[in-house]
């Protein structure tokens, strides 16, 4: 079908007489031969499945848009491009070949992909958790981890898929939420690899709050209980006892695999792949393929989760864009916004659109009743309800209705303005209506999700929320946004691997950059490292990088520099910096900021570190091996999670497992006879790092697991060695290891940025790492516009990850710096100086230092260009003489009045 003509109305699918297996729902239901993959597909255009279509012609006759093209064929097109990004992704591993799991034989054994569809509102069971055999709600679900991952015997995938541990926890949590009774969830695993930023907290929440059981065991065989369709799992538990459990359902946590078609594509393009068919890359050039001009990102580069994929996407965009930076600004299409219609004199004409959000809202709230209710409210001239109000086709419908009914106010009752306000405002603008004549009622996050057990109350509350929003919409005013120019210089804070890469990428694209480093020389924490686990020379790389940065004439490096003052707003910042030993003050004007302040190794308080020179950290071991080799080392014990995953530092430091494996391998290479023991809690060698864990075991490194409750103990022996005691997790017996060296895998701690974050008003999490704007969707943006984040300032990470993040931050900054001007939000505070008594409360309370007393005019002034629109001043003003536009007092009070008008 012609996507340009198809309106996505779905008439073809409704009348198509042919059923076909619905692949997107993993075969749990049917679709028609004329179909669309899923409701939010972009473009929202239907297609004909040629394998299923019988060519009856019904859809062609029905289609008013004349979009059906029976004779449509595949066409080849030639595109001339300057660079290519390979982001072909992956597919889930197909476990059909693993006969002992019964997948394909027992209906209630499904893959994690299938379970994702079962949990989805757009899935085969509309989000109700049911098992395929009898559509009964399961009483218990088991997840089996590492299906198609970390298995060189049955599937040949020696890598870890990196995502399955987290999605299993997530699926179990959501399943427990969807099923309102007791649901027993058990995750059978070898290691729980929740090593991403804040992932450990999520895992602990799943375990301790939601009551998910995590069982350290791999199940041998699944058998079905004939009468019930339940599944019998037999496993030896951690104590070695044989256990048998019955589950209603089993979810196989399948890993990621590169599809054959991607392998073909890479071959055609002449791009080198590694032994597992991921694109071969170097740790210092993580998104650069073997062929110049071709870049890669996402799972095709290596197994990773969404934040990592989105980051790499920006990194690949950065490099692809750098190659063709000279052509920037050509072939630009601008969105034509129609001239604004003046509606200030018009009586409000409000349109209300109520969203079902699939079944997220519609499954609980009586949406038609809410829409009908809204129709009777003051000034409402039109109401409608939509399956997804946010979908592309709905925007078109809304635009039609605005014009048709001469609407001058829009109310959408759906989800959060945080995610969707901008989009609806653009829809208004496209009709010539001022974007601020918009109001949203959050009847999902603040209603249907919370009151899912009480649909009647939820419907009543939705009506209340809509009534309040309609009341406010009627009082909204047209607001004008200010347009300001952008300063094209960038400021990068931190001269480590991340900061230098970010500066270099921006410099290469022609932007002037000031790179600020607090130490006397560039390099950061990488100065302390020797080799990556792949064997690449860190110091050689660093030397080359420093040289490139200092040689780039667009980059100005300030060392021994300290930020002491900061003001301004996106596109127009000014930062005061003290530079050099003499602390010479200079002010830098810049349009963007990249924060790359890094992290450092934790200094242990544990395990005799302070008392014995035979107890050292992994970084110190790296130095020792580099200087003295491993001669004389008969026995080395490594202890993991020192300063991580404990009460003080809840999070995992992500890199220590691979660090221990790296150093263990180094010892074994230098001295194969040395004993190396790694005492660990979960080995988290995610992705392709798993290969090195395998190699370490192959070389005879012994891994012994312990729990946080039963940590190892280190004491000196009478002859000067160290004695480490621990309980072997398999034999359940005490082990005493005589060691001449104990190495602590000390975690990472964020650099001290107390002063910086307070001067620049940048938010950090309790661990001292800076907070990104959105974990998945905006992983290198900070909440304040024009401010970006990369490297270990964001959280502990590998050099390769820091580099791709730096390239990503440079890419995001480029998007910003490429514009010559920006529109500022019209939501700002205004002082009515007539009533002001100059008490200076606003001056004292503004977190951004915006209100100022103009001594000449003797009035308080609030510069709208730098006002963040937070509203603090408007709240604290004792004379109530400051109004925040879009949130004026009466625009808020009217909502309360509207709420109370109907009685609570």
């Amino acid at each position: 079908m012609d996507p340009a003509k198809c309106t996505g109305c779905g008439e073809c699918a409704r009348h198509c007489p042919v059923a076909a297996v619905n692949e997107i729902n993993q075969g749990f239901d049917d679709r028609r031969a004329a179909y669309i993959e899923y409701a939010q597909a972009v473009p929202l255009a239907y297609a004909i499945d040629p394998d299923a279509c019988i060519g009856c012609g019904l859809c062609e006759n029905l289609c008013i848009a004349k979009a059906v093209k029976y004779d449509d064929i595949e066409r080849e097109t030639t595109l001339k491009v300057g660079s290519v990004v390979l982001s072909a992704g992956s597919q889930g591993y197909d476990p059909s070949g693993l006969d002992y799991l019964g997948y394909g034989k027992y209906p209630n054994v499904i893959t994690s992909q299938g379970f994702e569809r079962i949990l989805s509102a757009g899935g085969p069971y509309y989000g109700h958790v049911m098992r395929p055999l009898d559509r009964e709600e399961p009483k218990s679900i088991a997840w089996l981890q590492c299906i198609g991952s970390r298995d060189t015997n049955r599937c040949g995938n020696g890598y870890c898929s990196s995502v399955c541990c987290m999605y299993a926890v997530k699926e179990a949590m959501i399943a427990k939420e969807h099923i309102h009774g007791d649901l027993d969830c058990a995750v059978f695993n070898m290691d729980m690899r929740t090593g991403g930023k804040d992932y450990e907290k999520y895992f602990l929440r799943g375990r301790d709050k939601a009551g998910i059981r995590f069982v350290k065991a791999r199940v041998h065989t699944i058998t079905e209980v004939h009468e019930t369709g339940d599944l019998k799992l037999q496993y030896t538990d951690e104590t070695g006892e044989m256990q048998e459990e019955i589950f209603s359902m089993v979810v196989l946590s399948v890993g990621l695999k590169i599809s054959d078609s991607s392998v073909d594509l890479a071959k055609r393009l002449g791009v080198e792949l590694n032994q597992y068919n991921f694109v071969a890359t170097n740790p210092f050039a993580p998104v650069t393929t073997s062929r110049p001009g071709i870049y890669t990102c996402g799972v095709f580069q290596g197994p990773k989760d969404i934040p990592g994929s989105v980051t790499e996407a920006s990194a690949a965009a950065c490099l692809a864009g750098t190659d063709i930076a000279a052509a920037r600004g050509n072939d630009i299409t601008t969105v034509e916004v129609p001239a604004e219609i003046d509606v200030t004199e018009q009586e409000p004409r409000i349109g209300v659109f109520v969203c079902n959000c699939g079944i997220n809202i519609g499954g609980i709230v009586d949406v038609p009743a809410v829409a009908e209710y809204a129709a009777a409210l003051p000034y409402v001239v039109f109401t409608d309800q939509n399956l997804f109000t946010c979908s592309q086709d709905t925007q078109e419908q809304i635009k039609e209705k605005i014009v048709e009914h001469k609407l001058n106010r829009l109310v959408v009752a759906s989800c959060s303005p945080k995610t969707h306000e901008q989009m609806f405002m653009e829809t208004l603008e496209a009709c010539g209506i001022n974007r601020y004549l918009f109001e949203m009622a959050n009847i999902r996050n603040q209603n249907s999700w919370i009151h899912s057990n009480n649909p009647e109350a939820a419907t009543a509350k939705a009506k209340d929320l809509v009534r309040m929003s309609v009341a406010r919409a009627a009082r909204l005013k047209t607001l004008k946004e200010k347009i300001v120019p952008i300063n094209k210089q960038g400021l990068v804070i931190g001269g480590g691997v991340a900061g230098m890469n970010a500066a270099l990428r921006l410099g290469q694209q022609g932007f002037d950059i000031v790179l600020v480093e607090k130490e006397a020389r560039l390099g950061g924490f990488a100065r302390k490292l020797h080799h990556t686990i792949e064997g690449e020379d860190v110091q050689a790389y660093l030397e080359k990088l420093v040289q490139e940065v200092t040689a780039n004439e667009k980059i100005k490096v300030l060392t021994e520099a300290r930020i002491v003052g900061f003001e301004g707003f996106k596109g127009n910042f000014a930062t005061d910096i003290e530079v050099g030993p003499e602390k010479k003050l200079q002010t830098v004007k810049h349009g963007i900021i990249i924060v790359a302040t890094g992290a450092k190794e934790y200094t242990p308080k544990e395990f005799l570190y302070a008392d014995s020179d035979r107890v050292i950290t992994q970084v110190e071991l790296g130095d020792r091996l580099e200087e003295k080799g491993a001669a004389g080392l008969d026995s080395v014990v490594m202890i993991q999670c020192v300063g991580s995953r404990n009460d003080e530092h809840v999070e995992c430091s992500r890199i220590c497992c691979q660090n221990a494996v790296k150093n263990a391998l180094h010892i074994k290479t230098l001295n194969p006879d040395a004993h190396v023991y790694v005492l660990y809690r979960d080995i988290r060698t995610y992705g392709l790092l798993e290969e090195y864990y395998t190699k370490a075991r192959e070389k005879g490194v012994i891994f012994i697991r312990f729990d946080s409750e039963t940590p190892p103990a280190v004491k000196p022996s009478s002859d000067g060695d160290l004695l480490v005691t621990i309980k072997d997790h398999i034999l359940r017996r005490d082990v005493e290891i005589r060691a001449d060296l104990v190495t602590l895998s000390a975690g990472m701690v964020a650099e001290d940025t107390d002063e910086l974050s307070s001067i620049m008003k940048l938010n950090r999490n309790p661990d001292g790492y800076f907070i990104e704007a959105h974990v998945k969707l905006r992983p290198v943006d900070m909440p304040g516009e024009g401010i970006f984040l990369c490297g270990s300032a964001h959280g502990p990470k590998l050099i390769s990850e820091a580099i791709s993040q730096a390239q990503a931050a440079a890419s995001r900054a480029t998007t910003f710096l490429s514009k010559s001007e920006i529109r500022l939000s019209a939501i700002t505070a205004k002082v009515n100086t007539d009533n002001c008594v100059k008490c200076l409360t606003c001056v004292r309370m503004c977190p951004f230092g915006v209100p100022a007393f103009n001594t000449k005019e003797e009035v308080i002034e609030i510069n709208e260009a730098i006002c963040h629109g937070c509203g603090v001043c408007a709240c604290v003003c004792p004379r109530q003489t400051i109004q925040l536009s879009f949130y004026e007092d009466d625009q808020i009070m009217c909502k309360i009045d509207a709420l109370l008008a109907e009685g609570m």
Binding site: A217, I702, D728, I737
Partner: protein, 243 residues
């Protein structure tokens, strides 16, 4: 009983596991254990002697050779290979068990298996019951005759021994001709009904090979060669192992 702590570390010393690794292709992957327990979860001998395949391999990996070699569990493994089938690292635990067995003085190995191996070595039958070839021939012919008479539909049924040029060479569990001769007949009937051209051998007809389970390498090679040679001498194309 308070067990003594396992002592590790210190200078490198040779351990049994390393010796076994030398013998096996890819070292039997014996170092690669992830301690996931898939082997133990599916092992019919898990729990016996408070042991399971994972613990057994762990003892070997930690160099606890004395305990490994003295565990009676060594003789409880059935060599079924269910562990290898699902092991993500394809670790050949049965081969470790086999080599531990081989490290035992022959006379200390379990009497039942030892006796059965010795019986098989007594004559050319290779039978764990010690049955000589002529006794086997007598029983087969006697039982065949009985069935040919009692069941007219099988009056032409055959149970040949040393039939030159037969397609299939069939071996036979040794216990059946001695204690349950009727048990041999159902398979004869099947072979007869499908018209298979088959034969027993007067030599090497005993199907079980207790010497293999005894880890007596020389003896089990002898028995295997004995039966294979008989099949070759008769010109049989396919060896049907009924055990």
């Amino acid at each position: 009983m308070a067990e003594e702590a396992i002592k590790l570390g210190g200078k490198k010393k040779s351990i049994f596991l390393d010796q076994v690794k030398e013998l096996l292709p890819d070292g039997g992957n014996l170092n690669l254990c992830l301690t996931c327990g898939a082997c133990s979860s599916g092992c019919p001998a898990t729990g016996l002697e408070n042991m399971d395949p994972r613990k057994y391999l762990r003892m070997a990996a930690l160099g606890m050779d004395e305990e490994l070699k003295s565990s009676l569990w060594t003789w409880m493994c059935t060599m079924c290979q269910r562990c290898v089938y699902v092991c993500p690292m394809k670790i050949d635990i049965p081969q470790l068990v086999f080599n531990v067995r081989a490290s035992w003085p022959r006379e200390d190995r379990p009497k039942g298996i030892l006796g059965s191996c010795d019986m098989a070595l007594r004559n050319d039958s290779g039978s764990a019951m010690g049955t000589p070839p002529e006794d086997f021939r007598f029983v087969v012919e006697d039982v065949l005759e009985e069935y040919q008479e009692a069941q007219p539909e099988f009056k032409d049924m055959e149970a040949p021994i040393d039939k030159q040029g037969a397609e299939f060479f069939l071996n036979q569990n040794s216990r059946e001709p001695v204690t349950e001769p009727d048990e041999m007949v159902p398979l004869w009937k099947i072979l007869n009904l499908v018209g298979a051209n088959w034969t027993y051998g007067s030599k090497g007809w005993g199907g079980e090979n207790y010497c293999l389970f005894l880890a007596d390498n020389e003896a089990w090679e002898h028995l295997t060669r004995l039966t294979a040679k008989q099949a070759d001498d008769l010109g049989c194309k396919t060896y049907l192992n009924t055990e």
